[in-house]
Amino acid sequence: MLRFDRVSTVPVLALVLIAMTPVLGQPYLTRFATSVLIFGLVAMSLDLLVGYGGMISFGHAAFFGLGAYAAAVLGFHGIHSAFVAVPVAIAAASAAALVIGGISLRTSGVYFIMITLAFAEMLFYIAHALTIYGGDDGLKIVRNSLIPLISFSNPTTFFFAVLLVFLATFLLSFRLTRSRFGRVLQGIRDNPQRAESLGYDTYRYQLVGFVMAGALAGLAGMLHANLNEYVSPDLLNWVQSGDLLIMLILGGVGTLIGPVFGAAAYLSLQEILSMYTGHSMLVLGPVLLLVVLFSSGGIYALLMPRAQ
């Protein structure tokens, strides 16, 4: 299990602060905190892929968007139970990850980046072309019900449901990175030839990792659809995938909790800058380039210099 030594005090403190948000009684802040947790969840799953698996996917938003669409399409056909939406979202994202990962992992390096990007964009265009599910305009959804009496439509209930999912996923992912499977995956990242010569089926390990990350992204997508009560093809867009990678590098690649802070920082920056200017990327774009060029370790390294 987690050892709460001094190194992990800062993230735990930060999480407690996020968890306290509803106490403030500000609907806007509760909503924002929910959003941070959801994007933190996707960023974490992408970190499993990029940071621990060494697989630089530029198509992670596809699985996020698929999860969101799964919830929306079920709702469109009159099925509102979260007990259906969650497994369907996870299954849809996993299936897509199995096919896309199965093909993309036949290559590596820069090929892998371009191919994951291309396949994700294919799903984006399909969502565009499917006019029965709104096409370009997207699809409005009613929030999923949990059990007949408890619905996701109460923002505070929903926040705590998301928090619960987030914590469970974090613990699971943390255990995963320390498990035998996680060690092998990191071994493949560092030296694929050596892992192969030790007898590991590197393709299969990477594919399992790819599908797991996709499944988690699908789960997060389903939550995101519930938060916004709306899905659109933009969720699968490559800009979304790029944003997720930026959260990763802002927070610190390969640290699991870092990308969550990256998500919080990126979403906050976007929110604050868009209050002052309609062109937030004129500032944020060059800043991000500087972060890529000169930072190492992201926010995680700032918070915990000794842990590096």
Partner: protein, 298 residues
């Protein structure tokens, strides 16, 4: 073949040629500097905006193209000196993120300078006719002309790469950059040259495509991703592969959009059409992971 099908086929070749103008620059710079540039689509967009603006000021289409070319090449070289140069030695992850940040910057810059509304570039009068096809169809001269321009650029690029001293250095750089540098060639200057060339080609594609599509923010993104598909199919670093794959992808994409809705109806057809290129890419990867004409893997 019905004249409508001939027309679509010609459109496919025209799209293929535009894709080649994009893919050639991407694959050249990857070959020499091992650098993956997502901001290549931004150069396509900026080229179109430069030309549209100069056309509005001057009214001369030729002047717009010439000045637009110079501006695109200059922008590429500036970007190389200011940003890309610092990314060459970094991981592909850093390259992709750094150039992605630049896309975000350029998209907002375009909205700030030119506004979010699309701009329309009129086809000049002297190019606006069409020629008859067999049967009762006709085909716009402008589309034929830009196909010809694109093929001409491809031929010139072939001569440059295969038969000149500069081309020899470019090929040598793609084979072994350190060795070339050790033999006294300034690889920085060579990459700057290739970058200027690639940017001019991307900008050219944007500006001659301008009269056919709306010149608007984000227009380069879709082209960039299809150019990736082209490079993966053709084999990374291979100019000939990029050319063959561009034409194939252009035709598959255009005919797919035309035929699939007729065969599968207007619900499933468009969705299937948007998958066609990617299915082709997946098939090539399964059969030949290094691409049609690629020699090595990335």
């Amino acid at each position: 073949m019905s004249s409508l099908l001939v027309e679509q086929f010609l459109n496919g070749i025209q799209l293929g040629v535009m894709l080649f103008l994009m893919a050639a620059g991407l694959t050249l710079i990857f070959g020499i500097m091992n650098f993956l540039n997502l901001a290549h689509g931004a150069l396509y967009m900026m080229g179109a905006f430069f030309a549209a603006t100069i056309l509005e000021w001057s009214g001369s289409f030729l002047l717009a193209i010439l000045l637009g070319l110079a501006a695109s090449a200059a922008l590429g070289i500036i970007l190389d000196v200011v940003a890309f140069r610092r990314l060459y030695e970094r991981s592909h992850f850093d390259q992709v993120l750094g150039t992605f940040a630049l896309i975000l910057f350029f998209n907002d810059l375009v909205v700030l300078l030119w506004g979010p509304e699309p701009r329309y570039m009129p086809v000049p009068d002297w190019l606006s006719g069409s020629i008859p096809l067999s049967g009762d169809g006709s085909y716009p001269i402008y589309r034929l002309l830009i196909t010809g321009v694109g093929l001409g650029v491809a031929a010139a690029l072939y001569v440059l790469i295969a038969h000149t001293r500069t081309g020899m250095l470019i090929r040598a750089g793609a084979t072994n950059r350190e060795m070339l540098s050790g033999l006294g060639t300034n690889v920085r200057h060579l990459s700057m040259l290739v970058f200027g060339l690639g940017s001019a080609m991307a900008g050219l594609a944007g500006m001659i495509n301008g009269p056919l599509i709306a010149v608007q923010v984000g227009m380069g993104d879709a082209m960039l991703i299809v150019a990736f598909v082209v490079i993966v199919i053709g084999g990374i670093g291979s100019i000939a592969g990029a050319f063959v794959a561009s034409i194939i992808v252009g035709i598959v994409d255009t005919l797919g959009r035309f035929l699939l809705p007729q065969w599968f109806g207007f619900t499933a057809g468009p969705a299937l059409a948007s998958m066609a290129n990617y299915a082709l890419m997946a098939a090539v990867l399964l059969a030949r992971p290094q691409g049609l004409l690629g020699a090595r893997r990335g």
